[in-house]
Symmetry: C2
Subunit: 211 residues, 2 copies
Amino acid sequence: MIKLYGIDVSGNTYKARLLMNILNIEYQQIPVDMQNQAHKSPFFLKLNPRGEIPVLVDEKTVIWDSQAILIYLARKYNAESWHPDNAIEMAKISQWLSVANNEIANTLAKARAIIKFSYSGCLEDHQEQAKGVLAMINQHLENQQTNSLNWLVGDKPSIADLACYPYIALSHEGGISLEGYTAIHKWIEQVQNLQGYINMPGLPFSARQQS
Amino acid sequence: MIKLYGIDVSGNTYKARLLMNILNIEYQQIPVDMQNQAHKSPFFLKLNPRGEIPVLVDEKTVIWDSQAILIYLARKYNAESWHPDNAIEMAKISQWLSVANNEIANTLAKARAIIKFSYSGCLEDHQEQAKGVLAMINQHLENQQTNSLNWLVGDKPSIADLACYPYIALSHEGGISLEGYTAIHKWIEQVQNLQGYINMPGLPFSARQQS
């Protein structure tokens, strides 16, 4: 069975859990004692030279980086609609994996880590930069609207949405308001209505669930 | 013909040029007047909401983010060896695209931008963090060695190498020495010996070229 090294309050760990739940993939989450720096231990650094969670272990395959884990899962488990084969869609999904990996990780996720886990850094700077990131994503989602739905790439959900979703939906934990970003609100609700959706601790869950 | 919006001294623009040269893809580079903020103009923001170079335009397809551009080119032009289809290799390549997009962009490339283009930021912090990134990559390349060659993923060059290469090879322009990173030196030489390799301004070129 797949082992996922991670913790419940990590948005990056949650991305992997979310896709595995949607795809009905069995897995076991193995907690990592971050407070005692288990992610910087020789054992863990051998799994992931970055010394970060999550890490996914599927028999002999070890994948680190939450975006890479989404790609691995979608391809290994034949979920082509979540990571299509064609050049344009794959590249456009990759654009948003980059945004998750850089802009979102370095603004929204950093602000949350400073407040919630006492990470060092300038909270106000990260909060201010986060507004620009949210405005960009909100505008993009507005432009994307087709048939009353808006997804980051094309007209269906993909791993791009799952990669960007957690730390946007957790904005309030970094002291950042989502007020006024109407397209983002709509998109959050769409993600929460996906078949197989699971929530994570601290994440506001207000979607009209499909019965 | 493909249009590549970018400038000669941008390592991210260079990545795209490098792969197009290797794959023998014709393109035209369109300069962007960064000093006059052309990359923040309404025209450019419509191409790329991030307001950054490079942007690749292939007929009606517009791709931003240098990592996404590499994926697009490799897939569109059937360069499967540069971005293999199978889940494990694709995910492992994606890990290093993330490193290019985050660790390398936020340490090595930032230090260079502060020195060379007067960007704001704490030079010493970026230089210090860059050492950790270089040590991680050097160790990984050492572990990767097979048949006297070391590539980031598997036993052949991929877009992972091209994504990480420019700002590592340009380290000195950020005041960061590559002394002691022997596996990185070897890897740089291998990249410079690739069929179709082109150099960029400021990048030390010392490979024993194949005749």
